[in-house]
Symmetry: C3
């Protein structure tokens, strides 16, 4: 009976199950609606006008309010979990993330991944899996394309003898990861008549021209995470990673409690960043990112940002790109920019994200 009773269940892929070049088709496709959008607003309190108002978006040349960039990210990412990171120990990093065509309510997103690298760890128990994941809409247009690498467990049964480990380990392939998405690859879906951007209704007067490289912004506010909130959010994305949901198991685990999905902190930080970056229309690229420490229910998240770069978009005088480093902390206000020295670990830092946003120019 044993074989019959286990064969139907997805136990997830272990490190040995991946092959470089392998193509993974993720399930299920997901039709995004205004229901998801409203929940996302309630979960994070985001106030970016372009995502909040159809007429505001139409004044930027869009048919209606597009879905928030990070909601797209979570939905595309969420689909990949059952195949890639069900047996992950840690989400190690992101690179080369490019957002494509906007997503509107009614669009259906599907995700696929290709394994682009594998590296067994010396402990014999884990390995690093590098994937390039792509989200497309119902027309096959790319909405997001990004790399991530995760530390994945090896199947226990194989981790017995070192010789076996060596035999089972695939050839190490560490992919070349882009240090940044080139400006020429950023998608800009807006068309903006000169002087037409409504800063009264966007919530702040500051445009691309007003930011300086090296400028730092404390986003001031803090948001405390509740168990119900991070679980609602993570399920909204159909992300099924076990550590977020099962207190019965986690109370015996490393931390004694459920771990908050790292992307939850990204969304909190992006929502907090409205206060200082209100005219960042969307995230156009994620150059890199690191969840420096886990977050838990009860933590209060703060954030600050530094302007890393200002990029004109080729052939565009209406919109420019800002490259931004946003650092999020827990239970630590950000007036003095904790984690400013990225080379020295600050125990309060939970997120260090390097990304580009699009912003209207004067």
């Amino acid at each position: 009976m044993t074989s019959k009773t286990t064969v139907k269940t997805n136990v997830g892929n272990f490190f040995e199950d991946f092959r470089v070049g392998q193509h993974l088709v993720h399930a299920p496709p997901r039709t995004v609606t205004t229901g998801e959008v409203a929940l996302y607003t309630a979960l994070f309190g985001s106030r970016f006008a372009v995502n909040s108002s159809d007429p505001f978006a139409q004044a930027l040349g869009l048919p209606r309010a597009p879905v928030d960039s990070m909601l797209i990210f979570h939905l595309v990412f969420g689909r990949t979990v059952a195949d890639i990171s069900l047996n992950a120990i840690a989400n190690l990093g992101y690179a080369g993330g490019v957002f494509g065509v906007p997503v509107y309510p009614g669009d259906t997103l599907s995700s696929d991944s290709r394994v682009i690298g594998l590296k067994a760890n010396k402990d014999g128990k884990t390995g690093v899996v590098y994937v390039r994941s792509t989200g497309v809409n119902q027309h096959g247009q790319t909405v997001l394309d990004y790399r991530r690498w995760v530390m994945v467990k090896r199947a226990v049964k194989k981790a017995v003898k070192e010789r076996d480990l060596d035999a089972a380990a695939p050839e190490t392939v560490v992919p070349e990861l882009p240090a940044a998405v080139p400006v020429a690859e950023l998608h800009c879906p807006y068309t903006l008549a000169p002087g037409s951007f409504d800063t009264a209704r966007s919530g702040a007067e500051f445009l691309w021209d007003d930011y300086m490289v090296g400028e730092r912004i404390d986003h001031v506010d803090g948001t405390t995470i509740e168990e119900a909130e991070h679980m609602l959010a993570t399920r909204l994305y159909q992300n099924t990673a076990k550590v977020h949901f099962n207190q019965h198991v986690e109370r015996e685990g490393r931390f004694g409690k459920r771990i908050v999905y790292g992307g939850h902190v990204i969304s909190i930080a992006r929502a907090l960043s409205f206060n200082g970056l209100a005219n960042a229309l969307n995230v156009a690229a994620i150059h890199g990112g690191r969840h420096s420490a886990p977050s838990f229910a009860g933590d209060t998240i703060y954030a600050w940002s530094e302007i890393l770069g200002k990029d004109a978009l080729p052939g565009r005088s209406d919109i420019g790109a800002l490259r931004i480093r946003t650092v999020a902390t827990k239970d630590r206000a950000c007036h003095d920019f904790p984690g400013l020295d990225a080379t020295a670990a600050d125990p309060a830092v939970v997120l260090d994200l390097d990304y580009s946003v699009l912003m209207p120019r004067r």
Copy 2:
């Protein structure tokens, strides 16, 4: 003043208020939208592709993604509470539940019930009320038809003397309850071209043909319930049963805390069952069900299933039915199928559900 100040309030029906044959019109009608669907996803993390994606549903011959069967159940059920179970002590069972035409966002559901049985309990304080409840859409088409029986309090003022009790008690009528919904009564809204079902995007390769009667599946994962979650869900259905919402009263009650709506556990179990039953397109019938024990915030729900039967649908080679027993537990993993012997009570078991799903055939 006293009479004026109490007459407007619905105190709910007590056992003496019911009559066999009585027709109850429930309020209010409810238009279901993508908002409800998104919230349901966030509350349970369900991943069944047909409910998740419009194009996936269209490939099955539907106009768009239908509403999850159990959300229909909860919405139809929720309407009945104010008239039937506001003074209920326990929801004793379900039988003969048949799902009719699919429900799509934009449809409006109304519920009606007929009292089909009454049985006073010997304690003089309670009685069992049997009802047949029907949910219809705005076209009058049946979306769900089921029987349930509940233990309802007698009005306190009448429960004074035994002689009065006897006088007040209606004639006992125990209705004949179907042991199972006949296969010929299952509704199958799908049309599936041979070989066209997309198992890559549905999340699992196993179809109707691959399941065996007697096969058991541990659904592996566990979900911890939070107070905010079960209350959000139960209010989403406009189910107003007091015990779920009022800690000020419940802290003095039997358990010292709010009781989770039993249907919440059904939805968790159905969502967990994706892992092993991913291609169960919908619940077509609920043959029977029992909430064996109450659940509370903080409980972690697990589930396992046994295939009780395989039924071909008359005249259909594309879709078949699986009759399934799903058992849910709290704070108890299901690798060894707790409650397997249904005749011996297992304290960890909180739900024992007997139902049929539709699944594509090879």
Copy 3:
């Protein structure tokens, strides 16, 4: 660097920043969808049929189910917070609130305010700001127009010497506030054929004619507030007042915990009032209101109402107005109408609201 790093952030307006006659344009505009409506149902469990069902609303002459009055209030209010009450200590009162054209899913709401009064407090640290705020839809039609007054902090740097305080204080202007919205100003969007109102599906038989001035109704039920719930609700409205969200700061504050947005209690009270006032189609006016005491997660809210007045609408025999006082309490049932004597403070009372609803006549 200091100047560069703070200038982009909105620290909110302090008392000295306001001028009588000042016009404030609030951000961002907000497109309301069925997503918001579903979340509102899940948060409060409201069962008013006109908001729950498109066909029910159509039978009242509306194109579809309108958005609940109090959701409109919260959305219009939410927009004003960043400009008016980010540095508020207390929301002191409401007056002259008139709801205009109905709001339907798909409408986009914008808010503007005018400062109509200012009064420095003698403590030199605070002042009262009176504003008249207006919410309009995408056609420029007014959906809500109301006055509120809030106690706002003065900027710390100016609160040094009494002489400076006098110098900095603006001339006191206390606006004339309407004691009540005149009946002639109430908007009635319904058209109701005689005898056509469906009391079976609305949930109660009592119509305008059945209520008596002086009648009191205990709404019976109680609802316990969870942290996740009030934060989800308040963020849904994009209300960013800090005290609701940041436990890291609030645990050092006055109460040691986050304060629930006062409007959350209004919505709970309105939802509870269904039991006794089920045929109140909408709130047409808010004559006055006071949050008598703060509420916190864990509090259980109860409510009772008194009929203050019955007003025929000019030229209308199908619909009438009821003027109602609704009192909400925490951790205190309302069978004996706590706070009945409004002049004697009752520590259990958290809300005292004076408003008018529209209700079908016989």
